[in-house]
């Protein structure tokens, strides 16, 4: 007779053994699950301790951070406020007004989203900006007017938040409109207008510092996504000419290094225009960076489109949706959300690539650092300078990745 394996009593629900839960369970599973694992844990802990010991000792004791203090406001705006760029007046207020507009935008987004990531970022930006007002040393002859403008970032954030909460402007499309307006106002403010007192033109060759990196990055990011989408759709088009043009564009811009493209934008492109045609080296650089990034973006998005089940488009067509609506409402939203990590990766790469404009003579934040450490009195401070620059870039890039993680999580509702 076969052994009776059925149980008469209902199965009992027991708590898991002590080694499977809590801190001990976690350490057991992740740090000491096998002999090899235990050895690796011990060795890497020792290594980590050594690195932390020497690293922290350098940061707090032997490093000399005066170079960072000395460069001060140059990091933010380069030589924008020098006598050469802005003769006879103080132009520092212009980027500061732009900053006020940006914090108002962040406040507005916070008001629309109602908390979460948007809130944290808006508050962080406003507080950091306001804290600059309390720096003991001078940010380029920082007077009380400058400190006052920096402090005004707090009420400006609150104003943006209040507008979003208590007026009909609290809708995503108005935030987008305001974002575009802020970008354009910033460009006009920085460039100045002829014959307007107080707004005398400042040539783009004096634009610099973090402002330059951010202008190039924001412009590039917000335009390379739509251009990339158009190129991706074009490459999948049934029209042979459109398809060919898109393939050629993508392959040319992907196949040439950005540095080469930047050089060509400054040396070759001007030849294509009449001699007295208004030329703007910053604009040409921005176009090249945007198009370069668009080519990569197009391939990311094409990957997302290709991963879609063909049944999605079929179902939409079977419901009578015309082709363009099928693309716009069904294919693209799914494709884009599937490749958000790749898209954000491209945004981050673009932001870091903006520092390459130094090779065409623009003085971005990295180049400012490089110029300073080549002065005899700061020769010994190269380490401090580059660590500081690394932290600045890391903050912005990690910010993008942080926001994208939250967007992914929010969009992931009900996803496979």
């Amino acid at each position: 007779m076969a052994a009776d394996t059925t149980q008469n009593a209902a199965a009992q629900v027991l708590p898991p053994p002590r080694t499977e839960v809590g801190v001990i369970g976690w350490m057991h599973a992740n740090l000491f699950s096998s002999r090899l694992n235990s050895a690796l844990t011990v060795v890497s802990s020792a290594l980590l301790l050594v690195i932390l010991w020497y690293g922290l000792r350098w940061i707090f004791w032997s490093a000399d951070w005066t170079v960072v203090e000395r460069v001060g406001g140059l990091f933010l705006i380069g030589s924008y406020n020098t006598e050469l760029a802005c003769p006879g007046q103080n132009c520092f207020w212009r980027p500061q007004v732009s900053l006020l507009l940006v914090t108002a935008l962040l406040g507005m987004i916070w008001g629309i989203m109602g908390g979460g990531v948007a809130k944290r970022i808006a508050i962080l930006a406003a507080v950091v900006a306001a804290l600059f007002a309390f720096l003991p040393y001078s940010l380029d002859d920082m007077g009380w007017d400058v400190r006052f403008l920096l402090l005004a970032n707090l009420p400006s954030t609150a104003l943006g938040w209040a507008v979003a909460r208590y007026t009909p402007l609290g809708q995503p499309r108005w935030a987008v409109a305001w974002g575009v307006a802020v970008f354009l106002i910033t460009l006009v403010l920085q460039r100045g207008l002829p014959n307007v007192p107080g707004l005398q033109p400042v040539s783009v060759v004096y634009w610099g510092g973090l402002t330059l990196n951010l202008i190039l990055a924001v412009g590039g990011i917000s335009l390379s996504l739509p251009i990339g989408i158009a190129l991706a759709l074009g490459r999948r088009s049934n029209l042979p000419v459109v398809k060919l043009l898109c393939v050629v564009f993508i392959e040319v811009f992907r196949g040439v290094p950005l540095i080469t493209l930047l050089f060509m934008s400054q040396t070759l492109v001007p030849l294509a225009f009449p001699e007295n045609f208004p030329q703007n080296s910053l604009f040409r650089a921005a176009v090249v960076i945007t198009l370069f990034s668009s080519a990569y973006m197009a391939e990311n998005i094409r990957g997302g489109l290709q991963a879609l089940h063909p049944g999605q488009a079929e179902a939409a067509r079977a419901l009578g949706l015309p082709g363009w609506q099928t693309t716009l409402l069904i294919s693209l939203p799914q494709a884009i959300r599937n490749v958000i990590p790749a898209i954000v990766g491209q945004f981050i790469a673009l932001f870091k690539d903006t520092s390459l404009v130094y090779i065409i003579g623009m003085v971005d934040i990295v180049e400012i650092g490089r110029v300073f450490i080549s002065r005899p009195e700061y020769l010994a401070s190269a380490r401090e300078m580059f660590v500081f620059l690394a932290v600045v870039f890391w903050v912005f890039c990690y910010g993008m990745s942080y926001v994208s993680r939250h967007i992914e999580r929010n969009l992931g509702v009900g996803e496979r």
Partner: protein, 252 residues
């Protein structure tokens, strides 16, 4: 004429004459001639690769036939885009893999086409959607996303989505083949109710019990042609074709 409890008129709503379709060198449909009357329920069976799915996908032009004529609801299927869109508005389709839009809620899946294609006001489209969800038995799921539903529920949403365009004809392409047994029943129940409401139905399905009870005609495809076209009783009890007997013996 009344069969299986529903009324079939004499008006032909789908007419196919000598339809041919090639995929590259593969001759998938090799001269299909048949017609479907308004209110009729036709179940299509046949071995895999016999062209049955290709055939019903030709009826709303998800596939293009290369020779012969297909006329649906008085409109001939040509490359004229206006005709194709007009027919697709009139012909609902349900797929084997549901093909719900995963980024939209159940409600938005159903109201999308009525709002965008029929230009209904959102409120009206939502009322219709709610009625349909009640008809398929899942009104409480309207705010969920497709991935949060079981397979049977997803397929019922897909049926509601197709019905929201108020089609005259419903096409089903193996609607229960991807489902667990207990879910097959709930989907067939909805299809049965639909058949009783005088909807014209063309269904590719291997649910022979359903075919026997609900269909007016059972059509068997083999190697790109129709080899048998009979009312259920005749089809099961007195098949004329040797290949039908062989096929039935394999799946019964």
């Amino acid at each position: 004429m009344t069969t299986n409890g529903h009324t079939v008129t004499d008006e032909e709503i789908i007419t196919c004459r000598d339809v041919h379709k090639w995929y590259g060198n593969f001759h998938a449909l090799r001269g299909v001639t048949t017609s479907v009357k308004k209110g009729e329920v036709v179940v299509i069976i046949g071995p895999s690769g016999s062209g049955k799915s290709t055939f019903i996908r030709c009826i709303n032009r998800l596939e293009q036939h290369q020779r012969g004529d297909i006329t649906v609801d008085g409109i001939e299927l040509t490359n004229d885009v206006r005709n194709i869109d007009a027919i697709r508005r009139d012909v609902g389709m349900v797929f084997q893999s549901f093909n719900l839009f995963p980024h939209l809620t159940v409600m938005n899946n159903i109201t999308l086409a009525p709002i965008k294609v029929r230009h209904l006001p959102a409120k009206e489209a939502e009322d219709i959607a709610m009625e349909l969800l009640e008809r398929v038995g899942i009104p409480e799921q309207s705010d969920k996303y497709p991935a949060q539903l079981s397979g049977g529920q997803q397929q019922r949403v897909a049926i509601a989505r197709a019905l929201a365009m108020q089609p005259n004809i419903m096409l089903f392409d193996e609607p229960t083949s991807a489902l667990d047994p207990e879910m097959i029943k709930e989907v067939l129940e909805v299809m049965r109710e639909l058949a009783e409401s005088q909807m014209t139905i063309l269904a590719v399905s291997h649910e022979l019990g359903f075919a026997r009870e609900v269909a007016d005609r059972i059509v068997m495809f083999d190697e790109g042609i129709i080899v048998e076209d009979q009312p259920p009783d005749e089809f099961f009890n007195n098949p004329r074709h040797e290949r039908v007997k062989h096929f039935l013996s394999q799946i019964l």
